[in-house]
C-alpha cells in the first residue's frame, strides 16, 4: 500500500513538473541555457554524495536494510524540499518506516556543507536512483538553514 502511495506521489511530482514545462513554452530556451550550470551542479552533487552520503545510503541509493533508509522514490526525498534540506542540516535520529521496513541508524548533521553543496547533492539525489523531482536551489537551502 505504502509503495503505491510513494509511487503515486512520485507520479504526481513528475506530472506536475511536466505540466509546468508544457504551460510555459517561453521557459524552454531558458532551460536549455541553464543546462551547463545544471550539469555542473549535478556533477558536484555526485561528488558531495560520494564523499558524505554513499557509505550509508550506498552507490545505488538503496540504503541498508534495517539501518539506513533508501533514497529511492520516498516522500522524504521527493516531497517538501525544506524538510529535506533540514534533514541534511540537523541530522535524523528517528526510526523511520518506509514500505513496511524500519530504518533506525542515526544520521549526523552535515551542516558543515555549504548551501551550494547541499543544494547540489539534493538536486543530484532528486534526479537519480529513479527519482525525477525538481532541483533544489541555494536560496531554498539558505532558508532551511536560517529560517529566512
Amino acid at each position: 500500500m505504502k509503495r503505491y502511495t510513494l509511487l503515486f506521489l512520485a507520479g504526481l511530482t513528475a506530472v506536475a513538473t511536466y505540466t509546468t514545462a508544457q504551460k510555459s513554452p517561453a521557459k524552454k530556451p531558458v532551460a536549455a541555457k541553464v543546462k551547463p550550470a545544471a550539469a555542473a551542479s549535478l556533477a558536484n552533487g555526485k561528488l558531495v554524495y560520494t564523499q558524505n552520503c554513499l557509505t550509508c545510503h550506498q552507490a545505488d541509493g538503496g540504503g541498508v536494510s534495517n539501518m539506513n533508509p533508501p533514497l529511492i522514490k520516498t516522500t522524504y526525498v521527493l516531497g517538501d524540499k525544506l524538510r529535506l534540506a533540514k534533514i541534511i542540516l540537523n541530522g535524523f535520529s528517528e526510526k523511520v518506516e518506509i514500505d513496511g521496513e524500519i530504518y533506525s541508524n542515526i544520521m549526523p548533521s552535515l551542516n558543515y556543507l555549504s548551501n551550494q553543496q547541499i543544494a547540489d547533492v539534493l538536486t543530484y539525489v532528486r534526479s537519480n536512483f529513479g527519482n525525477k523531482a525538481s532541483a533544489v536551489t541555494v536560496a531554498e537551502v539558505s532558508k532551511a538553514r536560517t529560517g529566512k
Binding site: 550509508c56 550506498q58 552507490a59 524500519i102
Partner: protein, 429 residues
Amino acid sequence: MKSKVVFSSIVPMLAVAGMLWYGAGKHNNTMVSADADNAGLKLPAGFGALRAAENTGKARHISITPAGDIYVKLARPKEGKGILFLHDTNGDGKMDETQGFGNYGGTGMYIKDGYLYASSNSEVFRYKLNDKQQVIDPNAPEKIVTGLIEKNQHETKSLVLDNAGNVYVNVGAYSNSCQEKDRTPGSMGQKGCPILDSAGGIWQFKANKLNQTYGDGIRYATGLRNVVGLDWNQQDNQLFVMQHGRDQLHDLFPAMYTTQQSSIYPAECMYALKKGDNAGWPYIYYDQDQKKKILAPEYGGDSKKEGMPEAITPAVAFPGHMAPNGLLFYTGSQFPEKYKNGAFIAFHGSWNRAPEPQAGFFVVFQPFKDGKPFGQYEVFADGFTGSPEKTASGRADHKPCGLAQGQDGSLYVSDDVKGTIYRIVYNKK
C-alpha cells in the same frame, strides 16, 4: 537346521523393520536428502544442503530440539508472532507445520535444560518445555531480565547459557565509536565513555530468577561494541563472542584512512572471555595486519599508535565489516573429524565497505585444537547472495544470520532477508 535358517533371516528383517520404525519416529536420525541445487549453496565436497523452511520472516537466531523441531526468533513479528515453531511431519527434512507465538521481535533464541530462552530488544524471557521439548504455554513466559537499554543502534540482545545456571546477554553500544557527536566527521571521543555503564558489553544474569535488571546482573565483560554471534564453548567451559567492529574510519577521519583501508579495518574479532575482561572499545580497535591494538582516531590515534595494552587480544581476527551474526562450536559427529569442536561463524555481510565492494555473506569454519583456534579459517558455505555482483553491491538474496546444530549433527543456518532455514548435511561415507 531349517528353522534356524528361517530364524536367522527373520532377525535381520525384524532389525530392518525396527530401524524403519525408529527412523519414522525419530526424524532427526534419518538421513535427509539435499536439494538438487544444494539450496543454492556452495559447500565443501561431500556436503549437501536443503531448504528446511522458506519465507519464515526476518529469521535471526534459531534453536533445534532433539526431535528435530526448529524454534526461530524473528526480528519483527509476522502476523503478530515473533517466535516460530517449525515441525516436520513426514521426516523428509522439510518443515511442513508452522505455529507462532510471542508478540515481540528480537534476536536471541536458545534451548537449555528444559527451557526455551528468547529475547526482545530490551528483555529476556523463558518458556518451559515438555518432554517433547515443546513450549508448554506460549502465552505465559517467565520474564527473566527487563529494562535493558534499547536505542537506535545495536539494539539486539543475543544470548547464550553456561552449564551453571547463568544466561549471558549482549547489550550493544548505542554508538559507533562513542564520539561526542555520533558518526560526525572529526568529532572526538567522549572522555570515559559513559555508554559503557549500561551497554557495550556482556551482562550475566541468573537463568531462573525473575525480573532482573542491571543491578541484579554482572557486567561480565566490557569494551565490546556490539556482539550478535556468541556461544558457550563446552570444551573450554568458556564464553566466546564475535564483535562487530567500528564503522567508517575513512568517513570520520579521511586524512588518516583511505577508503580501501576503511573497507578492511578494523578486524571483526572473536574473543574468548573471562569475567572482568575488557576488549577495548571505543578506545582501541584491532588491526589484523599490523596485529596490534591501535588507538582509535577519536582518542588521539593516527592509524599506527598503539593503545590500551590491558585490553584483551582477539582469539581470531577476521577482515572488517563482515558482520558476524552467528557463532557455533560444532560438537556433532555427522561431519568429518576436523570439524569437531571447531567454530562456525555466520557473516551477515558488510555495508560500510562502500565504495569498495561489499564482502561476507557466508559461513566460515575456524578449526580449533585443544580448545584454541588452530590454523587458518576457511569459507564453508557460500552463495547466499545469489551472484558475485549481488555480493559486491550488498543487494543479497539471502544473508546468513543464526547457526544451530541438530541432534544428528546437521548444521542449520537462518537467513533474515527472506527467512530461508538451511540445513547442511554430510553425505559422504
